[in-house]
Amino acid sequence: MLYQAGWEADMTLAVADLSRAGYSADIFAAFLATRREPQWITEARQRAFASYQQLLQQELDPEEFRRLDLRTFNASRFRPAAAVPDAGEISTLLSGRTEFGGAIAHVDGHVTTSRIAPEISAQGVLFGGLQELLEQHRELLEPYFMTRAVPADADRFAAWHAAFWTSGTLLYVPRGVEVQLPLHSLIAHSHDGVADFSHTLIILEDGARATLLEETASANAELSGLHVGCVELIVGRNACLRYVQLQNWNQKTWHLAHQAGNVESNATLQWTVVGLGSRTAHIHQDINLDGRGSMAEVNGVTFTSDRQKISYYTQQHHRQQGTRSDLLYREVLRDDSRVIWRGMIKVDAAAQQTDGYQRSDALMLSEDARCDSIPGLEIEADDVRCTHGATTGRVDRDQILYCMSRGISRREAMHMIVEGFFQQIYDRIPIEVVRETLSRAVQAKLGIEAVAADLLQNDDEDES
């Protein structure tokens, strides 16, 4: 009878909302036992875990999560990996593509390699594993860590991350220092069932400049995995940060990411988010224009296939006068995949003379794909210019015919049209290696055969 009752209780849970179960206090205690770290970090974790337990009891913000069904997400299937894995080389989209001034790799939540060019570190730049650097430079870094860009209690996932974070990438660039070469950060999974809580913290002091290219990867297509990530970008006055995150997990990985950039006066943030992989992804992206005259340019490149679901919740928050934001997302959907984009431009009463732009365009390659794009505005100032829009469309048959009438095959035409669709975003990305890498990754993922078959079905001559 007891067994029976327990079983029934589990079933009820499964139907209600598996994701509400979360990680237990036992799991947290076991996790803490594996950590050897200063008391202040442990205490911060404990505070975060308490928030997490509270937040688990609350509904997720319906505005953000209503369209994404997380009820089947079962956190207990994934655990942090206790030991540094013997990962071997994990090949990624950017591997060997360009010269990097430094590179760090995290595998299964542990730093496996980290290097920085001596001439860059000689300028006072810190680049490497977050844990180690946070301990060494507490007074410098602690004020930024999960306090401002992504507060530790921002939501259920942020709190979960704050309690369990391990490894992560830290980049700190002192005042006025310009890092010429891009830096590389890899977050990878190499074992089945791993939960990783990698963190990315970038701090550019006033007038500094840097570029970080970050990518995620799975060692093979079969591993299941969970990434509960957090990205914090702090861009000081007159500084310029280019940050790219290229999400390319296998299709058995959950990707839950809370990301925010805070931009100070007259600083510029160029932020590119790429979504190619994962089974289900949800990215919360805040762009906070904190200083007068600050500027953010945000690009989104998403290409889904099979049964992938990728959801974005973007907020461009204009907090000061004369700020500009320009967000362009483009999505291509194949097969049964689904994309959700919920965008919001918020303009505070103080943020006069702001210029906000947001747009999402989706191109569907199959009848069964689905895209929901919902732009939104919340404006409290009266002297602003805000533009928003969203389109969803299918590949135009007239475009295909036009290409074919020039001797270009249907497949090649599809290829060109999809590439052209993304080209308008590539045109906004100033980093050549990123443009090339994206273009190649998209071509590889196009896996033209299946797409061409889809289209043939739509045409009348398919008789077989």
């Binding site: 036009y402 290409c403 074919m404 009438s405 020039r406 270009i408 249907r410 060109m416 590439e419 052209g420």
Partner: protein
């Protein structure tokens, strides 16, 4: 059939005939759009080197013929045939027809955002010149291609900047039509169909396009000019003028027929062919293809 002459030219396409040139032959062509019959038995024969004009009032089926020849999937050939040198092509897809040397200059060229003119044409040229090329295989050399497209643009009085623009994206009407002519120049088809290439253009633009076409056409190209007007024909004097009415070619004559139509409109023609007007009750012959 195959020529005994040991020159290698024409070997790639395999079907290029000898001294008499290639022939595009349209026989008793019936075409429907969304189950509505539009063409009701069109016959026409175009040889390489000939210039034909196709005239006729709005709705007579001229553009339908153009699209059906190019292989537009919405234009269903219900009976009849289209042959190039005896090869039946009406079941071929548009790209296969293009690789056999057929070209359509569109009345409404399509915009393809994000695809540069040069990239588009480099793929097209590679496929047309190497009809067996498969996707992903080598393209025509960049240097060679760049020189060629620049030369053609210069000849057509086009700014070289065109090559870097996205195909027809933000182009004016005249620029789009000129782009069609540039494509014609690069692809050097055996048969070119120009669907109202002069429509919507001011007289200067018509002159530019007409002169461009006149430079390109020659003994290697059979041309079918679909037009309402006479101006395009001043620079490209047709040997044959066909008049279409109700989905059929009702009269064929020499260049003077175009003058007559220009002077007097279609009233006389209609009067001579009272039975040519489309009849809604007319049923299509049983589908043969």
């Amino acid at each position: 059939m195959s020529s005994e002459v040991n020159g290698a030219s024409g070997a790639a396409a395999g079907t290029v005939a000898g001294a008499t040139g290639s022939v595009l032959r349209i026989r008793d062509l019936h075409v429907s759009v969304a189950d509505t019959p539009i063409l009701r038995g069109v016959n026409m024969q175009i040889r390489q080197g000939e210039v034909h004009a196709l005239m006729g009032p709005n709705g007579s089926g001229k553009s339908t013929l153009a699209y059906a020849l190019a292989g537009h999937p919405n234009y269903t050939i219900t009976s009849g045939s289209i042959e190039i040198d005896g090869v039946e092509i009406s079941a071929f897809e548009a790209d296969a027809r293009a690789r056999l040397g057929l070209f359509l200059a569109f009345q409404y060229p399509v915009v393809i955002p994000g695809v540069k003119v040069a990239d588009f044409l480099r793929h097209a040229v590679s496929n047309i010149r190497n009809p067996d090329r498969r996707e992903g295989e080598g393209l025509i050399g960049m240097r060679e291609f760049r020189k060629e497209i620049r030369d053609r643009m210069t000849e057509l009085g086009m700014d070289h900047e065109f090559a870097r623009r996205y195909l027809n994206d933000g182009f004016s009407g005249g620029e789009k039509k000129r782009m069609e002519i540039l494509q014609l120049a690069m692809l050097q088809p055996r048969f070119a169909i120009l669907d109202e290439t002069d429509s919507g253009l001011d007289s200067d633009a018509v002159r530019v396009v007409s002169e461009g076409l006149a430079k390109l056409s020659g003994p290697q190209m059979g041309v079918l000019i679909i037009t309402h007007h006479e101006r395009l024909l001043e620079f490209n004097r047709p040997q044959f003028v066909h008049v279409m009415l109700g989905g059929r070619i009702v009269e064929t004559g020499g260049a003077d027929l175009a003058h007559e139509l220009h002077a007097r409109g279609y009233a006389d023609i209609r009067a001579r062919h009272p039975d040519a007007a489309p009849e809604p009750t007319h049923t299509t012959p049983a589908a043969a293809v």
